[in-house]
Structures are given as structure tokens and as C-alpha cells.
Symmetry: D3
Subunit: 205 residues, 6 copies
């Protein structure tokens, strides 16, 4: 499972043929997924069903992401794009994260979202906006960003990402929930807090 | 004119800074748009309002595309992605076209769409599928493709494209509606018809 | 079949070693062709014989293309370039087509050619020129273009393309000759003609 | 200001001429820096002096980075590489950060460093190693990573980055020190702590 | 001077619009040439006349190259391809050189050529072949290569290169004819000869 | 042999997953190295020991390069960067060479180096500088360059290259030491010397 997942994350190259549908049975690991025999490719290889389904937001952050990357839709292999549906309970938050390999463009289908991203050093400027239904916002590649439902009911957004395997690094999980964990001394210096605060933060992930 | 000008400048490069918001006042024409002074950039530069608005499909093909490319949303400059909303009247068709610089991934928001693309020579294989609400389909870069509303009511789709300036070549318009027109003899040989059929086809564009 | 297979594997990446000669025996399908063992590579892997041979133009369009892509010359793999010879009978036409993955630069070896390309929407501007022996013309990547012999005798051109697997989409064949065919209703709306005209056009391909 | 300005312009493209030395006087902002007139280019444009100088590590994290990017060395423009010297006091830490546009390769010149990076979701695997003088380690592009002096004396490293403008996002600063700050509610949900802990963390940056 | 200037600006990027014809009047120097206003572009911008003309081979090496790069044909800007005609007197030689930014594919139009390239260290393998009219050969990007007329009469070849500004480094000129010259001691060590042999070699360039 | 084999496979692509550690056991040859199963990857895959070791400069040129490319450090695969240590005896020279796939940035750790590169035709301009400890210099991709110890003692430099498999073409070896050798007539014309001088030069390599 872990292997499949990791493998399913390979390639963003420009396509070098009409298509290169990812072959789930291939034993070959390359920088990008190996392709299925093109003569066996079917319309279903370019198809995914389910973005109409409401996500289950009963979790600590109150949001749920349903990705449609090359892992869910093998025809995306080599084509450099993917989609996701994001559901938010009231005050639900898609917490600060980065996509190491993609810019994100998001449009609100329902509800009201506060969104923002932060520029790199030394500015660390926070660029933020409240979005309504039909509004569109862009999160440049690699920058820390988040969304939060600030309306009265649920909210739904469709996001597109400029990679078939954009990757996600949820900041809190990567820093305080790494396995094995990062030395508390490193994190205490980084966040300028005592080690018991670090220990408390680690205990949540 | 403004549109032509803007399109002629749009950029797909990997971003080389946090962002490079397109500067509509720049006199400099390069392979990609010149950037606005980053200290003057505002959240609105990454924002577009209007994808909730229904398109006017009262036209011969019965469909309407509302693009959100770098021309509408300057913050997309250099970031390699864009969105569009497509509205379809019953039996409305987004006619065969190519995007010379982008793959398209589409999800149905409402209604039922027949979609398809055709592979390059010598196969010219037609890969087609009927989509319902929540379904997703991919059209690989450069290939001829189309969508058609085959349901009873209106249909709406959101499409994402892997370029901030994907370009559109509507086949019928490019071939029979070019300015000045392509010699009828060329088109008669290409489509294996008499010149009066070509003349008739040209008269529509 | 063999051709389809080979095309489906060709590669345009920047080379990451001195060369990566395509291995015709490889079972591995990737975004680009697998390489032959470099210690077994020979000068003949970089060599092709036959561009001096006149093409047979006895066909409905009166032209013949002899490609030298990675399918014919395995040493081109990963190197991003290919050649072709095009022969034209008097009034022979290389009908409107696109190369989804390459710009084309062409020089006339013999005869007189009318050439042209059409820009994308909304302009659909037709850029055209009559060429004599020794003239050179460029067809930008992805745009619809054609050539036609407008001289008294045969014509010959050498074209270079910026990909080892440029791909060809002949417009008439892709639109009216796809397998299975595109619904007549789609094409009737696209070309603004009756379905019987569409049926007639389909019957030619 | 000058720094921000310069960073906002830096370029990673493949060079399209022998060199394109960044022109500090150019008013033109593009995706990458405008070039100096090549006839005015001098050897000093490819030169930087100062990596032998010990950095001042008298600061809360006990480390100091001296970058040699296109901002310091204009000849790096378009060439896709840069250097840095990093000094560490005993137990000094270069805190968790990402480079949105570069992989880093580091070699220890003096001392003993513990280094590590964390993979993306869902694994968040911590890959870590203790390095001695002459050891080399790699931090893949976009991943969170850090270094810490775990020896008895000072430590020095030379790092190379695969971009002339790699960018740095120090996690703690971007998340808790953004301007304006990110809503405490967002951060409290993200780190699963009370808002007063968030307030305390914000007060440090 | 004009040539140097133009070369220093040429661009290989993927085009980000239908075309970006180089503007000879632009004062802006970027990594690639600034574009002409697209509304002023004409068919002649994509056109060059003269590859039918025999080159003057009355020079010490007995060969002459007529390039058609972005310097001669501004419409090639951003399109990643160029052409050249090479004429050879009997025993004329196009001496060992590299193209730092292009692979070359060559076809013989007339005569008989011996061609070869040398792989990188440590092999320095010489891959060589004698070509007749209609034969095609490939020289991978960056490798040292040459051609020599080994037939009885003149020879002519058409070469295509995978860049609109491929660059040429003629080995003998770069090493023994640099301005100012490279220290004789460096060259004596490199070629394992006495300094007087180096002095003699320098005197020829 | 093993070295040649490995080099022939190395990869410079943008990484399409967190990492793609080169698998030394893979039988698959592609444009870039096949990856190790990511679940088996260890910290040692990103690690190399030995850059603190002095190189043996007892050879005709008086210099020694210790490379840390993907051949020595498999974790560099797909990450586009590498390092090297260069040792110089007094007056030792790293003779004129090119890297076909990388720019080089070098810093002096100890001693005094004269360095230089030569621009392409027609300028062949020699850009040169004497460097002290802590100085940094850049050699743009593909250009001929060299370093020479001009101080009283040994010299040491650390160089970074913008590719995990940069390649090296030592000019003298490629031209006069190719296997099989290049015809003396070609080299005599190229260097404008008698064939006996060519024979003498060939005898050294």
C-alpha cells in the first residue's frame, strides 16, 4: 500500500506522446510512472467519478480534501495537472501547508472562505482575502497557504493544481509529527519556546 | 486589441520568484508578461470574481466559455495554470478545438456531458465518455477534443488548464474562417470535396 | 501497430547523458523510450539512409512525407529534433495539420511552394508566403499549417522539427475520420452545416 | 528594499546565450532578471569575495547563513546554481525551513552537524544523519530540513543550491511571524493548541 | 558587434504565445529576445531567403557555414530550432566544434562526407561514419564533432539544430585564439607540449 | 565500465516525487536512472563521505578532481546538482574542459587560483580572474574553462555543478586522444599545423 501510494506519485514531465497512462502493474520505478500499453488504453483511464460527494469533515480541523491526482486518475500521468474538492464544516480549516511541486487555483462552489498565503523570507508577507461563491484565488507554488470557512454554513471549493502529483506538506504534521521525531532542542530553538511546549505540540501529532 | 496584446505576452515559465504579477502597463513585450513591482502587489492581483455567473448560450453552438487566464487574473503570470467555466444549453456543443499549450481536466458541476478527444495520426482514435455530475475527464495537451450537453437541462462544467495562457484553436474557425482565407483548392484537397462545398463552409465563418 | 507502439514511447527530454539510443527490444514503456546499453551503441544508431529518394505522390493530396524521427533513427531519442522530406506533385498539397509537440522550419530544395499557418482564437490570422528554392519558413508549434506546390513541376522540401516525436494531427482525418466517428450532430454544429454534408465529409476518410 | 526588489527578479531559466549578467539598473521586471549589455560585462560580474569570513552567530538560533545568490553575484543570472556558507555556534541550529525552488547539497568544512529532512504527507518520515568534516548530504527540493551543530566547537558548512534564487521559507517565521499575522484560530486548529499558546508563539516573531 | 549583441539575446524557451518575433529595435536585454508588437508581425518575419546560394569555401579550412538562426530569421525567437547550409570544397573540413545549446541533425544534399563525434570522459569514444547523398546523421548536444568532404567534388549539407541560438565553439579558436590569450603554461600542461609548440599554435589564430 | 554505465544513465529531470534514489541494481536504462523502492531508502542514500581527503596531484597536470555526482551519491538522482573537490599542486592545472550539462560555481578553500572561461564564436573572449581563499567564481554552462594554482603552496577548491551528471569533456583528450583517433588531416586543418605536429600531440594521449 505504502509502495503503491509512493509510486503513484511519480511524473510531471511534458508528455512525449499523445498520452502515457500510468500502469499500476509496472515493476519499474522511474522519475514518473511507467506507461500502460497504449493499445490497451480505454476511456475509463481518463475518467474519475466522485467529486459530487460531500466530504466527511468530522475531524479536528473540520475540513476534508478529496484529491484527483495521478493516484486516482492514471490518465493524468505526464500531463501536469490535477483537481481536488475541499469540504469545510463551519469554521473548518484546511491548515497551513505547501505543495512542493504545484501552484493551486481555487474557486468557491458554495459558502464563504478566508484564504491566504505567506511570501518567503525576509518579507513573510501574508496575502489574504475573503472569497464568496464564484470567486477565484491563486496560491503560488511552494508558498505556505491555508483556507478557512468563515461563513454560517458548510463551504465547498474546487482546486486545480499544476502537477499530476503536487505533494502536500502539512506544516504542523511535518514539523511536530515527523517519524522519528525531530529533536526537541531543534524545535525549541526554531520556535523560541521551552521544550515542554515542544513536547506538548508533539503530543498532538 | 487589448486582448490580443495581452495574450501575446502571457507566460508559462516556472516562476523564478514567489510571484510575478502581470503588469498591464508594461511596454515591454517578452516571452511571458513583464511583472508589476512586487512591493505594489495586492491580494486583488491574485483574485477574480464571476465564475458563479451563468454564461449566455444563445449562440449557434449553444455553449459559452468564461476563461480565467492571465488575461483576467494577472497573478497567474508564470504560474502555469488557469480555470474556465463552460455553460451548455440543451444539446449545446463546445466544438472540436485544441489547446496548443495545455492539458485540460474537467469536472461536471451540473447536467450530463458527452466528451471526447481524438489521438494523432495514424490512429485518429476517438476516446469518448458520457459524464454525470461529479465526474472528471482529461483531454491531453494538443489533441482535438469537444464536449456536448446530452442531458435534458442545462449543463455546467469547471475546467482547469495546465497553462496561464493555454490558447484555443477552434478547428472550424481556423480552417474555414481564417483571415485572409486559405485557398479553396487547398481545403478542397484536404477535405476531399468540391470547391463549392468549401465555399459553403467558408461562408459560415 | 508497430508504428503506434513506437510513437507512444518517444521522448523529448533534455538528454541526461551523452546519448540514450532507443532500444527497440525494451519491454518498458515510459514517457520517452528506454535506452540501449551504451556499450553496445554503434555509429549506425545515429544514421539513416534514404532522404535522397523521391516520394510517391500518387495519392489524393498529391504529396508524400518521409519522416526521420526516433521511429526511423533511434539515436534521436532524448535529443529533441527530427527531419522530414516532403515531395509534391504539381498542385500537390500537404493538407492543414498541426504538430502537437514541435515547431517546423522548412527549406525548399526544388520548386515553388505556397505555405501558411493560422494563429489561434480570436484572430485566426492566416500568415502566408510563396517560397522559391533556398527559401526558409517557420511554422510555430501547435498552429494549423499547410504547404502547396504552386509551380509547374514537382517540388521538394526538407523540414526540421523541434522534437524527436513531433506527432501529426491531420485536421480532416482527425475530425471527419476518427474511429469511432464523432457524432454528426457535434460536427454539424461545429461546421454550421446540415448532417448530410457531415455524412458526405465523413465518407471520404 | 533593494534586496526584495532583486529577489523578485531572479531567474532560473536555462541560459539562452553564453551568459546574461543581471543588470542592477534595469527598470524592467520580468520572470528572471534583465541582462547587462554583454559588451560591458567584466570578469568581476562572475566574482564574489567573502566566503572565508566567519559568520556572526550571536543570535537566538546560533547560526548564520551567508548566501551567494544572484543578488550577491549578478553573473549567476539564468545559470541555475548558487552557494552559501553556514556558520554554527556550539548547539547552533539552522531551523526548519524549505527552499521552494532548489535542492541543497551540503558539505561540512569544520565540526559535526546533525542534519535531517522530512518527507511529504502522509509519511512525514524524518531522514537524519550526523555528519563529520568532509561528509556530504542532500536535501531534496521543497522538503522541510534543518542542521544543528552537535559537536564541541564551532561548525562550518558550504551548501550549494540548484537555483540562482532558491528562496527560503523559515517555517516558524512564515507561520507565526507573517505580516499581517495569520488568524490565531487558524493556527490553533492547525497545531491543535489553545489560542494563548498561539499568542505566545506569535510574540516571538 | 551587432551580431554579438543579437546572439547575446536569443531565446530557447517554450513559446508562451503563438509566436514572439524578435524585435531588433528593443533596448531590453533579457534571457531571450524581446518581442515585436504582434499586431505588426508580417509573413516576412517568418521568412529567410538564400539557402540555395553556394558558400565561399576559399579559406584555410575549405568549408563555409550559412546559419539561419534567430539572428537571420527573427520569427524563430522562442521556437527552439534553426537551420544551416554547409558547403565543402574537396577535402574541406568543418573543424571540431561544439554547440553548447543544441543537438544537430544533418543530411547530405550533394557529395560524400566523413562525419564524427567524440563522447565525454573517460571514454572519449570517436563515433564516425561516411555519408552519401540522402544520408542523415546526428550529433548529440554539447559533444565535439566535425565533418570533412572525402569525395571528389564539392559537398553540401543541410543541418538543423535544436535551438534558435545554438552557439558555436570552434575548439582550436577558443583554446588557442582566445582574447586575451590563455597562459601558455596552462596550454602546455593541457596538451603536454613545450611552450614553443603552444606559441606556434597560438600564432595561427 | 561500471562507471561508464552509471554515468550513461544519470538524470537531471525535475524530481516528480520527494526523491528518486538511483537503484544500482536496476536493469532498466532510461533517460535518467531508475529509482530504488522508496520504502527501502535510507539516510545513507543521501550521504557521501570523503571530501576532506586530499587528492593525489602526482600526475602530468598536477591536479585531482574528486566528484560527488549521482555515481557516488545515488540520492542525487533527479535533483539537478552535484559537488566536487579539486586539489592543485603548485602550478597544477585543471586543463581546459567543458561540462555539456552544467554551470559550475567554485569557491577557493585554500591557496590562490587563476581561473578563466572563453565565450563562444565569434568573440572567443577570455574572462579571467585570480582568486584567493573565500572567493567565488562562475563558469557558465558549456563554455571552455580551466583553473591553475598560481600561489606558493597547494590549493583546494570546492565546486558545485548544476546537474547530478554534469559530464566532462577535457579538450585535449577529446580532440587528440579519441578512440579511434580523429584523422590527422582533420586536426591539421583545424589547428593549422603540419601532420607531424598532430602526430606528436596525439602521442601524448
Amino acid at each position: 500500500m505504502a509502495l503503491t501510494f509512493t509510486l503513484a506519485l511519480a511524473a510531471d514531465h511534458s508528455p512525449l506522446q499523445d498520452f502515457c497512462v500510468a500502469d499500476p502493474k509496472s515493476q519499474v520505478l522511474v522519475n514518473g510512472l511507467a506507461c500502460k500499453d497504449p493499445t490497451l488504453v480505454k476511456a475509463n483511464d481518463f475518467f474519475f467519478r466522485g467529486l459530487h460527494l460531500e466530504g466527511n469533515t468530522s475531524n479536528p480541523v473540520g475540513s476534508k480534501v478529496a484529491p484527483v491526482t495521478v493516484s486516482q486518475l492514471p490518465g493524468l500521468n505526464t500531463l501536469g495537472i490535477s483537481l481536488a474538492r475541499i469540504d469545510f464544516a463551519p469554521w473548518g480549516t484546511n491548515p497551513p501547508h505547501t505543495h512542493p511541486r504545484a501552484t493551486e487555483i481555487l474557486t468557491v462552489i458554495e459558502g464563504t472562505l478566508e484564504v491566504g498565503f505567506v511570501t518567503s523570507n525576509p518579507g513573510n508577507r501574508h496575502v489574504t482575502k475573503v472569497l464568496q461563491k464564484g470567486d477565484v484565488f491563486v496560491f503560488p507554488v511552494g508558498l505556505v497557504h491555508y483556507q478557512r470557512n468563515v461563513g454560517y454554513g458548510n463551504a465547498v471549493a474546487i482546486a486545480a493544481l499544476s502537477s499530476q502529483n503536487p505533494g502536500v506538506i502539512t506544516i504542523a504534521n511535518a514539523v511536530f509529527g515527523a517519524t522519528p521525531d525531530i529533536a526537541s532542542d531543534v524545535l525549541a530553538k526554531a520556535f523560541q519556546v521551552d521544550k515542554d511546549v515542544v513536547a506538548d505540540l508533539k503530543s498532538k501529532f
